[in-house]
């Protein structure tokens, strides 16, 4: 008798769930939209901000040193003040946003590409391939990632591309694990068997049948990782191991202002606030997306 009512029960439960979910959904959508708008502002500033004001990293304006926010300098209004060589902080921060966003996006693409490929292969193929790839991931994880980044950066030298490569090497594992986990839960579903029964090859099964179910968790992880990556780039640049010195990054601007915290708090503080706000927004966005698209990932 149970089999007869099982289908009905399931549908009734599903209907109740839908009703409950709907109100939570509206709030969730608002959270996501708010966070996305903030991130979009950063991206716009990164894209167009530097065009508004030209910035020459090697120039100095001694008469404009350490001017507080709102001062008028020989270059015009310094809305967010100037640093110890008279350079405008706002210009530096807009270029810093460009560095952060570039490194963030580049790293996620590269780490995502490596991680998702590894995860798909490991989960789909299983057996010794899976064991080997996942041990590699374990080894990767057992290294403190910022230490590894420092090590690699010290060897290959500073450049934006190097920072992206270094951070991708330390971040692909998360993508690999999430993808593999999702592949493992999905690959024994009946619809995968159905595609196999139709005669689908491995490539079709992995990419067209299984992969679409991995996209949501991957996007959630990517959002959470974006914050981590941006913070890691700032840390590397703060230590002088990130982008070259003639590219103003938030990390290097914060480092420059360290000696002047008493007289010119704005040099370190303002880029610090910009950084913190962006990282926080990424975290909140990741949480909101996870709640909405993939509640199972809650432990991450």
């Amino acid at each position: 008798m149970t089999t007869e009512t099982a289908g009905v029960d399931r549908e009734v439960t599903a209907a109740f769930d839908t009703v409950k979910r709907r109100s939570a959904n509206a709030a969730g959508r608002r959270r996501i939209v708010t966070c996305l708008v903030i991130v979009a502002c950063y991206v716009l500033v990164a894209l167009f901000g530097p065009m508004l004001r030209k910035y020459d990293p090697v120039q100095t304006f001694t008469q404009d040193r350490l001017m507080p926010p709102g001062s008028t300098t020989s270059q015009g209004l310094a809305l967010l003040g100037t640093d110890q060589v008279g350079q405008d902080i706002l210009s530096q921060m807009m270029l810093g946003a460009r560095v952060s966003i570039t490194v963030g996006a580049g790293t996620l693409l590269l780490a995502g590409l490596i991680g998702v490929t590894v995860g798909l292969v490991a989960g789909y193929r299983g057996g010794w391939v899976d064991a080997a790839l996942m041990r590699l991931a374990d080894i990767q994880l057992s290294f403190p990632s910022i230490l590894l980044a420092i090590l690699i950066a010290a060897v290959v030298g500073p450049s934006v591309v190097n920072v992206i490569v270094v951070l991708a090497i330390t971040n692909w594992v998360t993508f690999a694990r999430v993808t593999r986990g999702q592949v493992l839960t999905v690959k024994n579903r009946e619809y995968v068997d159905a595609a196999r029964t139709l005669g689908a090859g491995h490539l079709h099964l992995a990419l067209r049948t299984i992969f679409p179910s991995c996209v949501a968790p991957i996007l959630v992880v990517a959002t959470v990782e974006l914050g981590h990556v941006i913070l890691a780039e700032a840390s590397l640049s703060f230590l002088g191991l990130g982008v070259p010195t003639d590219v103003p990054s938030w990390g290097s601007t914060i480092a420059n202002g360290r000696d002047y915290l008493g007289d010119a708090w704005w040099i370190s503080t303002l880029p610090g606030i910009a950084l913190a706000a962006l990282v926080l927004t990424c975290g909140l966005l990741g949480d909101a997306m996870r709640d909405r698209y993939d509640p199972k990932l809650r432990s991450l």
Partner: protein, 272 residues
Amino acid sequence: MAEPLLRVRDLVTTYPIRSALLRRKIGEVRAVDGVSFDIARGQTVGLVGESGSGKSTLARTVIGLEQAEAGSIEFQGTELVGLSARQMRPVRRDIQMVFQDPYTALNPRLTVRQILSEAWRIHPDLLPAQDWDEEVRRLLDVVGLDPQYADRYPHQFSGGQRQRVGIARALAVRPKLIVCDEAVSALDVSVQAQVLNLLDDLQAELGLTYLFIAHDLSVVRHISDEVIVMNRGQVVEHAPTDQLFADPQHEYTQTLLAAVPVVRPWNQESAA
């Protein structure tokens, strides 16, 4: 007509038992243990047995989802055991399956149109791309769904409707044999009857052959020409439906028959 569509001989399928610690093989379950039977063209053969008796494994082996350990599966005179995946591809079209759980048998990320056209994507020679839309509409019509539903996702359908989509997907490759593994077990009674009638109609129209698996004897009785009874991986009885229900030979079959709990409304016409 002399040659059966499907001819299974001494089929054995095993699952390895692995140790929890090192995943080493420490034994095996013989889920299908020396099974032989024939299915003639255009017939419906019911396969019954209690849960765990190896029905699904038998079906999955016939369809190529599990490797046979020994024995032979001849389909239209072609031996399938031992074929490579590549050699299996053209044969696979002819044998399709309708799965048990309408909730996991359809890819939740694809629309019905994408689910149905998957077959033609895999076998491009089957149907030129410009005819896909037309064929999707036709298939939905054949299984009794509104062709306007083509762009909906599986979660927008009821269980019975999803099972119809599953049937349409199987039909997309124009198969000869369809294996239904507990295809109606998850549906409630009235919907079961509708789906069974649909299968009946399709058989009459398209000349399909069915291997119909169920643990519910009244369902099998309604649809089958012959019934195979399985227990612990072996066939204990194989007889025409009327004969099996009127005069069960094997003790296990008698126990199964005695356990039938309810008389289904649609069985009254077949009994009369």
